[in-house]
Amino acid sequence: MKTKVREPKFHLVKRDDLSRYQRVLIRLLSIVLALILCATITAITTGINPFEVFGSIVSGAFGTARKTWITLQDLSVLLLIALALTPAFTMKFWNIGGEGQVLVGGLATAACMICFEQKLPSAVIILLSVIAAPLAGALWGFIPAICKAKWNTNETLMTLMMNYIATQLVSYFIIIWEVPKGSGKIGIINQNSHAGWMPQVFGSKYMLCILVALITMVFLYFYIGYSKHGYEIQVVGESENTARYVGIKVGKVIVRTMLLSGALCGIAGMLLVGSINHTITTTIAGGQGFTGVLVAWMAKFNPFTMVLSAFLIVFMDRGAGEIATQFGLNQSYADILTGIILFFIIGCEFFINYRIKRAEKHENKEGSSC
């Protein structure tokens, strides 16, 4: 038997007594620390003045009015996708099929634009897109949902698989619709007639996305937090047994919520094709279906906080391109910086939930804590 008394150096204590102000302070502090680390690494590995790098990240995102608008537009698309995933995630339905749902929404829009160009007036095509895109997204959400509701299949696997189906479906139609033949691309759809292109709002082609994202944000805030449907989603997410116990039809809620989630993703796809790019490729969603998960999670599924987390990602992404060209750094360099910042932001949650306590000597009566 060991007789020596060993004391642990420190231990962790859970805490839940931080004020809102302190929580924000810790998060801000983590970003500052992350920037300091980024600066140090930049200075050491590239020899470039880190403040110049930071400066060009900012100018990459906000350097000109056009850049600012594009940043805001990108922000709103990512925000919209993150918002679309939120009802499903609140229900603890791990929908990682945002990518596919966005793609089929985009595909439906492209189909409306290409098939009806000569036959229908532009306004009718837009109207058809507005109907078809959410429907397509909803269908992509419905399939995993009904399987989960009926046979309790694994939704993570299914939504992921649906992504691949969507990608292949888009490649198939690209071959059918390719312009010019043999190029393997569609190019700008209806370049001359602009048939089916989404209208400008307030005289700006960027405003539509921003407006849609804002409306969705407010809608979801009230839908999840204050409506009867939202309450059912929360209960199902917390405990299916409790939901059944109070007579909530779990399968119905799952299907209904995924229809909504998929439809919103479909709308994001519609905006990407009809308003922003006017073309469709297999990579048009650009991984945002997955990034949206991160954005939603970082914001703890609060629609308003999501603006901040989406902004951070978009800001770094836009700045990345700038430093790549300006300093001849690899595009991956910006990813490294983004990675460091994300690591700090997610890591700081630990310090919000726990306190590290130094072990006390036996002589001490009062504890010293940090």
């Binding site: 038997m1 060991k2 007789t3 008394v5 060993r6 004391e7 642990p8 231990h11 204590v13 859970k14 805490r15 839940d16 007594d17 009230f222 204050y226 409506s227 009867k228 449907h229 309450y231 059912e232 929360q234 209960v235 917390e238 405990s239 047994n241 409790t242 059944r244 116990y245 109070v246 007579g247 909530i248 039809k249 006390e360 036996h362 001490n364 009566k365 504890g367």
Partner: protein, 512 residues
């Protein structure tokens, strides 16, 4: 036996969680060899926390622990084992697919030699009178067998100081007696034993000394044979408590529910309820006795519309005698038919409540559909929550506190409060006081009796037979899904109920 030096001395032990939860404050405790010490205290009085610090699960914020008068530092369960301390937890920590012997040697250093281990296990079993088959797989074992494996596991590792955390909570009276037999054998062998329990009759039966904790602080130690339940309760609660359960005579009983020929098969295809038939009347309490897994859960869930029924019928009769068939209905339909049915399920946070929601959010579970708009009415559940907190003395910082943060007793008060707030015609409760301290338990019994007097038909599934026989007008015994006799609560004997719980033949023999 050397009783002069304590095997374990804890001095000025303090442990806090977070900023303001003080689990233990300056606790002094001595445990002697060859003695059984009962650790008594209400929920949240810090009994388990204190023992967890002895078994290396928590580390005290301050204070000292001495083993055989030498200061020690216990930083992990392994340290505890090295010092000869072993704890049997409330929730078993066994691997289902392994055998008893494999579980027992799991995690021990050295070469794995099951044969040798089996021999040693047999030796331990013979010495203390355990009844366990080392080769039996854990998933085939009853709760009592699993507990035995846990105890043998601790002894196998050479523990001289054994801590049992509410070991009798899951046992039938017969199994409890067997456990006590083994405990007495270990005591004779010079082991130091600590038993954490709520049940005063067991304290009196098994222990030599009783140490009482109240709100994390040590109140004092009593010699068991010189004390009585009233004194222990008063010490534990800090003021006088009435220890009688009332049993008012049923007033104007009317047929409320008739269950006939009910059969239920669970998802694994096992028959859980077998041709059950009984009636329940308004203004009475029907107690249901049975060991865990005897079908009581499925029976209640069938009535509540949560369980698929194979065959049989459950008829509900309203005040005018109009009947409604409940089989095939889901909870929502039952509610829409105007059947005021309340159900306090066994699994509070897993079924009755949502742990992450606050108290008013949990009130909303029953009322969120009310009103025509798309949005939920938040005012009414808030009022209900405030009323319940005030009426049932729920200890909570506010109605915005998530219920998972509340202690077990307060969680149960919230659930029971909600279920009786809509004036039920039928109230079903499953293990309604499980894990609750004496004070909370008696509050709950009172609430149930009030519902009975208000004319509700009450089904009370309980595990403490003493309570069951005190509160019920009639006691129905379930064994293996069969109704094994319905006895009069005023005349039924505990022994007979215990026998009928475990053996179908016992019931048949008497009936013939």
């Amino acid at each position: 036996m050397d009783n002069k030096n304590a095997a374990v001395s804890m001095r000025k032990i303090t442990k806090t969680f977070g900023q303001d939860v003080i689990a233990n404050k300056d606790v002094d405790l001595d445990i002697y060899k060859g003695e059984i010490l009962s650790l008594l205290g209400e929920n949240g009085s810090g009994k388990t926390t204190l023992m967890n610090m002895l078994s290396g699960i928590y580390y005290p914020d301050s204070g000292e622990i001495f083993i055989d008068s030498k200061p020690v530092s216990i930083r992990s369960p392994k340290d505890a084992y090295d010092l000869g301390i072993g704890m049997v937890h409330q929730h078993f920590k066994l691997v289902d697919v392994l055998s008893a012997a494999e579980n027992i040697v799991l995690g021990l250093p050295g070469k794995l030699d099951i044969k040798k281990a089996t021999l040693k296990i047999r030796e331990i079993c013979d010495k203390y009178g355990f009844d366990v088959d080392p080769e039996k797989k854990v998933y085939n074992m009853s709760v009592s067998e699993k507990q035995t494996v846990e105890i043998v596991k601790v002894l196998y590792r050479g523990a001289d100081i054994l801590i049992l955390d509410e070991p009798t909570a899951v046992l039938t009276p017969q199994e409890t007696q067997k456990l006590f037999e083994v405990m007495r054998n270990m005591k004779k062998d010079g082991k130091a034993l600590v038993i954490i329990t709520h049940k005063l009759n067991e304290v009196q039966e098994i222990s030599d000394k009783v140490a009482v904790l109240r709100q994390g602080a040590y109140v004092g130690t009593l010699i068991t044979k010189d004390t009585n339940p009233q004194e222990m309760t008063d010490m534990m609660v800090g003021h006088k408590v009435e220890l009688n359960i009332e049993r008012p005579e049923p007033v104007d009983p009317k047929l409320r529910i008739r269950v006939s020929g009910l059969n239920v098969v669970n998802e694994e295809g096992i028959k859980k309820v077998n041709d059950a038939s009984f009636e329940i009347y308004s203004g009475e309490i029907l107690g249901i006795a049975g060991i865990s897994g005897c079908g009581q859960k499925e029976l209640l869930e069938s009535i509540a519309g949560l369980q698929k029924v194979e065959s049989g019928s459950i008829k509900y009769f309203d005040d005018d005698g109009n009947e409604t068939e409940l089989v095939g209905m889901d909870p929502l339909k039952i509610k829409e038919l105007g059947v005021a049915l309340s159900f306090v399920p066994e699994d509070r946070l897993g079924m009755g409540l949502v742990g992450n929601m606050d108290i008013s959010g949990n009130m909303m579970l029953r009322s969120f559909r009310e009103g025509h708009g798309l949005f939920t009415d938040r005012k009414k559940p808030q009022n209900t929550a405030e009323k319940i907190v005030k009426l049932l003395h729920v200890e909570t910082p506010g109605i915005e506190t998530p219920v998972r943060r509340l202690s077990g007793g307060n969680v149960q008060k919230v659930l029971v409060g909600r279920e009786i707030s809509n004036r039920p015609k039928v109230l079903m409760t499953a293990y309604v006081v499980r894990g609750l301290d004496i004070n909370s338990s008696y509050t709950i019994y009172e609430l149930i009796n009030l519902q009975k007097q208000a004319g509700a038909a009450v089904i009370f599934v309980g595990e403490d037979l003493d309570v069951l026989l005190q509160i019920s007008d009639r006691v129905m015994v379930l064994c293996d899904g069969c109704v094994n006799g319905i006895l009069d609560g005023r005349s039924a004997q505990k022994g007979e109920v215990g026998l009928r719980m475990t053996s179908l033949d016992a019931g048949k023999g008497e009936d013939r």
